[in-house]
């Protein structure tokens, strides 16, 4: 599927209120996956003693990207609904730093798409969290739900 990157980037924050609220910023989106960041804000702190960001912000980023990385793999008109998302918190986020994530869809079947994602700050090889997700394909137009 051809993607107009700048269009998707703008649409996301202009149409999806929670992505706008957290300032989610799309960096790249193609068949190999999606990368985005949530810029640090003091409101996102979960532990005021350490300044570490709350897991909820990491969850929002990983959930958003895991769903988004499935879309280029699907026929036009197909949507996805999250079945489950597991997040392992690997180490505390550093205070005061933006959080990045990369997600990719490694398998699709007729009904289900499977994803992996990692969240990181400076170094993608030293992630703060790992996510695996499964998504059910749904369609607004039933005619597009043909066997793969």
């Amino acid at each position: 599927m051809e993607i107009d990157f700048e269009n998707v980037r703008q649409l996301m924050i202009s149409t999806i209120p929670h992505m706008a609220a957290v300032g989610l910023d799309l960096i790249s989106l193609d068949d190999s996956g999606v990368v985005a960041k949530i810029p640090h804000r003091p409101e996102f702190v979960g532990d005021p003693d350490t300044g570490v960001v709350h897991g909820g912000i990491v969850t929002v980023l990983l959930d958003s990207l895991s769903g988004m990385c499935v879309v280029p793999k699907l026929p036009d008109g197909t949507m996805v609904a999250t079945l489950d998302l597991r997040i392992d918190y690997l180490k505390p986020a550093l205070s005061g730093q933006d959080i990045y994530a990369h997600a990719h869809c490694y398998k699709t079947t007729r009904n289900i798409a499977f994803t992996r994602a990692i969240a990181y700050q400076g170094d993608i090889d030293d992630p703060i969290a790992h996510a695996s997700g499964s998504f059910m394909m749904t369609a607004t137009d039933k005619s597009v739900m043909k066997p793969a």
């Binding site: 929002v60 997040i87 918190y89």
Partner: protein
């Protein structure tokens, strides 16, 4: 107020609201805690900024995950006897149906509290408590 002060205060008088107020992210989300008997119900009042799917409309899946994680932690703090903030190890969120543009509620059930790790199951609902829109299995580290 620091987190450990908030937890100590909660332990003395059973009121977790000061602890919620001490966490910037909880304040930003507008979370509240209601004590109903032995149970701690985490309340997420609806706001437009929580929407992830404007067509349905439905809550953002990450918001649902954050509510379940917060409720699991709050219920665990209520069940623990040390003034320490549990650290999340992992969470598996099951999305059962879309969360509507409504106030949401969640609570945690401590299924196992060991010396180092606690397992907490969390449930989230809106109008009808018997009709969950999401559930989660979580693990927390409770000693350093």
């Amino acid at each position: 107020m620091s987190i450990s002060d908030g937890i100590s205060a909660a332990r003395q008088n059973g009121d977790l609201q000061p602890l919620i107020e001490a966490v910037p992210y909880f304040r930003w989300m507008g979370l509240r805690v209601d004590r109903q008997g032995e149970e701690l119900i985490t309340v997420l009042p609806f706001q437009d900024m929580l929407i992830g799917n404007p067509l349905l409309p439905a809550l953002h899946g990450g918001v649902t995950g954050a509510l379940l994680e917060s409720a699991a932690m709050i219920s665990l703090i209520g069940a623990m006897d040390t003034p320490r903030l549990p650290k999340i190890v992992n969470i598996t969120v099951e999305y059962l149906r879309p969360g509507g543009a409504l106030d949401s509620f969640a609570t945690g059930i401590v299924t196992k509290q060991g010396r180092r790790v606690a397992s907490v199951r969390a449930h989230a609902w809106q109008k009808d408590r018997d009709k969950l829109f999401a559930a989660a299995t979580t693990h927390f580290l409770i000693s350093p």
